[in-house]
């Protein structure tokens, strides 16, 4: 279900939080769908159960999931769009990418064209790669 990069410098619980958020935002995990239990996930991913518990707590705190006593964790129904923190991250990544593109010789016109093409594709609902 998830792929974690144990070689990444990012903490494992952070990776888990990001992955689950992504899956919720893109609708892979539907509202009120049950998340795998801490025990199952720990076995599947070979990750410390306390780390998974921590990731779930964080997701609950941010309102992505809710938990029912004795039943497990479920996806909240209120999540619709990436939150502000995620937008900031994307913005920073875009700025960096634009800078790199500009150094590598892409002109402003090239980039504008690319941007318009990409937007057109999204509006038509074509999958992006």
């Amino acid at each position: 279900m998830f792929e974690l990069d144990v070689r990444s410098r990012k903490a494992i619980y952070e990776q888990l939080v990001d992955k689950i958020k992504e899956m919720i935002v893109y609708g892979v995990l539907q509202p009120d769908e049950q998340l795998p239990s801490v025990r199952t996930l720990s076995g599947q991913l070979t990750v410390n159960p306390n780390t998974i518990q921590k990731a779930y707590r964080e997701l609950e705190r941010e309102g992505y999931i809710y938990s029912l006593q004795g039943k497990g964790s479920f996806v909240s129904s209120s999540v619709e769009h990436p939150n502000a923190a995620m937008r900031d991250e994307i913005r920073a990544a875009l700025v960096k990418l634009i800078a790199e593109a500009s150094y590598s010789g892409l002109s402003k016109a090239d980039m504008t064209l690319l941007f318009e093409e990409a937007m057109a594709r999204i509006e038509k609902g074509e999958p992006h790669d």
Partner: protein
């Protein structure tokens, strides 16, 4: 729950454990890291009730472990080199463990047999180092311990077995709330196994923290300042563990909140600013350097 308070243990004049205070919560997997000869094994042996501390208190679930039969029956210590009786097989060792540990679970021993796939009739001294290690884990887990003390447990295991044993430990922690204390200098192993770590050096604990917090708290910053004076000015503003100059790019290892630190650097409007989290290995090396144990540039 394991609690140590100002524990000191000396051999002759040498203090192997020098005033250690730490807490390990129930169900936690705790990693004990340290330089060679830092006192990791001595500390584990005190916790196992093999050594008696010279001063300070050691409590496991509120009780003293030394000469405490009941508590020792619930505690398993796996030494760095597993010991078995001469000429014995797993079958014979299991009979011994059964007679000593009151919580021995035969059903579990049989279940675990499907994991380890070792011949119980074969003599242990004819097995490889890794196989003996597996046998020690097999026997240890069959005793249904509440506290598991492991000295270099992953040493000598192949990657498949390593994952297998990790999974077993995770299950123990999640399902039975076993408290697990692991010593190692293989940082990669600790990194994805433990939730808390302590770094020991010369008998003392120099860092003790939630592993994720430790990682979130230390940053590697690559920066190219517009003016060399800017680098000097940073000294007063942030907590710098390490500083290095590579051409026009400065490398800083900084402790503190990520946003705050980044903001401080950004204030000088540098040409380049990259903030990276550290691997546990890097944290270990820089913390050790701070404690006066660093890598000397050697040219032979």
């Amino acid at each position: 729950m394991i609690e140590l308070n100002q524990v000191i243990k000396a051999f002759e004049q040498e203090k192997a454990v020098d005033g250690v205070t730490m807490q390990v919560h129930k169900g936690s997997i705790y990693g004990l890291l340290g330089s060679n000869g830092a006192g990791k094994t001595s500390l584990l042996k005190i916790l196992a009730g093999i050594y008696r501390q010279d001063s300070g208190t050691v409590r496991i679930d509120g009780q003293e472990i030394y000469e405490n039969m009941d508590l020792k029956g619930r505690t398993i210590f796996m030494a760095d080199a597993p010991y078995f009786f001469p000429q014995s097989s797993i079958h014979q060792m299991a009979a011994f463990y059964r007679s000593v540990y009151p919580r021995w679970n035969e059903e579990r021993f049989v279940q675990l047999g499907s994991v380890f796939k070792l011949d119980v009739k074969r003599k242990l001294h004819r097995m490889s180092k890794g196989m003996r290690r597996q046998a020690a884990v097999w026997l240890g887990l069959s005793c249904m311990p509440e506290v598991l003390l492991m000295d270099e447990p992953i040493d000598g295991l192949d990657p498949v077995m390593r994952q297998q044993i990790k999974n077993l430990l995770f299950q123990e922690a999640a399902e039975r709330q076993v408290t697990i204390l692991i010593s190692s200098h293989n940082l990669r192993e600790i990194e994805d196994l433990c939730d808390h770590v302590a770094i020991m050096h010369k008998g003392r604990i120099i860092v003790e923290k939630d592993l994720d917090d430790l990682k979130a708290d230390t940053h590697k910053i690559q920066v190219a300042f517009r003016h060399p004076d800017h680098a000097k000015a940073m000294d007063e503003q942030v907590n710098i563990l390490h500083e290095e100059q590579r051409g026009s790019v400065s490398l800083f290892i900084v402790k503190g909140n990520r946003e705050v630190v980044t903001e401080r650097f950004r204030a000088f409007d540098p040409y380049l600013l990259d903030v990276l989290p550290l691997t546990l290995e890097e944290i270990f090396i820089y913390e050790m350097e701070d404690a006066g144990y660093d890598i000397q540039p050697i040219v032979l």
